[in-house]
Symmetry: C2
Subunit: 248 residues, 2 copies
DNA sequence: CGTGCTCTTGAGGAAGATCAAATCCCGTGG
DNA sequence: CCACGGGATTTGATCTTCCTCAAGAGCACG
């Protein structure tokens, strides 16, 4: 037990000693339950930037939690149009849409070199039967995804370009902050086109709007490097658009 | 047991004899499990047109399944803007977004006189532990909602007015057909404004687009009465926009 | 038979898309 | 180390779609 403190073993990350414990599966499990969880989860599959974690249409077996790095999920149409449905950072779960049809409903692609934990779903399901708080947590996670999707619908249905981009930046900022990173100084991992796809805008509009924010002194843009200088102005822009800050 | 065949008892609808069995909770339960389910579900609360089933911000206790009638769910912003997030017909579940925060995240409003079954969530949860197939079914239902939301995101992010409305009509048609109603001749239960809110369009655009479809001979519009004359033309419009037929 | 909705239709305007060109950056290979 | 090529980004000019404003029509209900 104590040998876990040895740096040599630090490669073997388990849920019980994972730094994302509180973000990812914060279920208040006891030591024994945590051990059961560790036994089920296959951790640390690595993906290089651009690699697919799964593809739409593939058989669904597992959920995936981001350990490090960054992913996007997107649905693409026959004629090549693609809609980014979300960006996913550490502690976030992907693949929930696959449960309903036993088939993944979207593509998940690494935006940078990344690492994920694999959660074989049927084993998680039976584990949930033994550990009520785990079962409940899974329901909560799926519900949270539904809430997130609804706020994206609000964004796409009601907001205009500036509001969308402001909401996007603030959401990113907040999620980074909750992971201990700087809230007002960060690197975008995705291209302007991917941001646009997510927000229902063209890449030129994203670029122009970022420039406009910069001209107004609200943000500083240096390619992928973004600084929020006056986040309160961005908030004012989104205010009145309900609680659409949970998008992502 | 046999006295259930008496018409006097037909008021007492249970899951086991509900005509929506296959749509709503088609879990392949045995007789005993079905009885447990019946014991938990409080059925047949009635709502008049315009009444709220629940409101955003209210405490979350239960999910609700539509038995008869029609509901909309919507999130509304401080400044009064409202985004309809879905229309719900018989057999469909509402309230899943409340699980994550123990608080309802949207309003649910009857679009006509309606009847719902109430599913106390915590009791469903523990029942799920005893009946694995029920637990699995709940996961599937939530996942299906996520898939639906994603296809709405695709619609709002990528499609133009005509495509959106065509997708909407086809989706309605398909859901009605799967309930045994005419696929190509139906009554809209919602206003143009509500359709517009759902599709991210203004009511005038909805009206204009319906008129355009009618001029082209693809549909017939008489106020709320819609007939799909050439549904294949509508399908052609949506084709290439991926499988966005699961919107609702 | 008004009154008040919802709906339709038209005209003009604005937001964002499209098309196009210049710039910048990064990784590659010499 | 530096030049090169391809992709990403910025910015400008124009165009399309949809929104906004406005007026009128149709229906529902008292």
């Amino acid at each position: 037990m104590n040998d876990l403190s040895s740096p040599l073993h630090s490669l073997k990350v388990t849920c019980s000693n994972c730094s994302l414990r509180e973000l990812c599966l914060p279920v208040g499990l006891n030591r024994d339950e945590m051990a059961q969880l560790d036994a089920v989860i296959r951790q640390s599959r690595r993906f290089k930037r651009g690699e697919y974690l799964f593809r739409s249409g593939e058989g669904f077996r597992s959920l995936y939690a981001v350990r490090t790095g960054y992913f996007k999920t997107c649905v693409s149409s026959q004629d090549g149009r693609e809609q980014v449905t979300g960006f996913h950072m550490s502690g976030e779960l992907m693949g929930l849409d696959g449960i309903s049809s036993n088939t993944h409903g979207c593509d998940a692609i690494a935006l940078e070199d990344s690492e994920v934990c694999e959660l074989p779903f049927s084993r998680m399901e039976s584990l949930g039967r033994d550990i009520p708080s785990l079962q409940h947590h899974f329901f909560r996670l799926m519900s949270r995804e539904i809430v997130r999707d609804q706020s994206v619908m609000l964004l796409l249905g009601n907001m205009k370009a500036e509001e969308r981009l402001a909401a996007f930046l603030l959401n990113l900022s907040q999620r980074l902050a909750s992971r201990g990173f700087a809230a007002n100084d960060f690197i975008l991992r995705m291209s302007r086109e991917e941001i646009g796809s997510f927000l229902g805008l063209k890449l030129e509009t994203v670029s122009r709007t970022l420039s406009k924010f910069q001209q107004q002194g609200w943000i500083r843009v240096d390619h992928k490097h973004i600084q929020l200088v006056r986040p309160e102005e961005l908030k004012a822009l989104v205010a009145g658009c309900s609680q659409a800050n949970s998008a992502g």
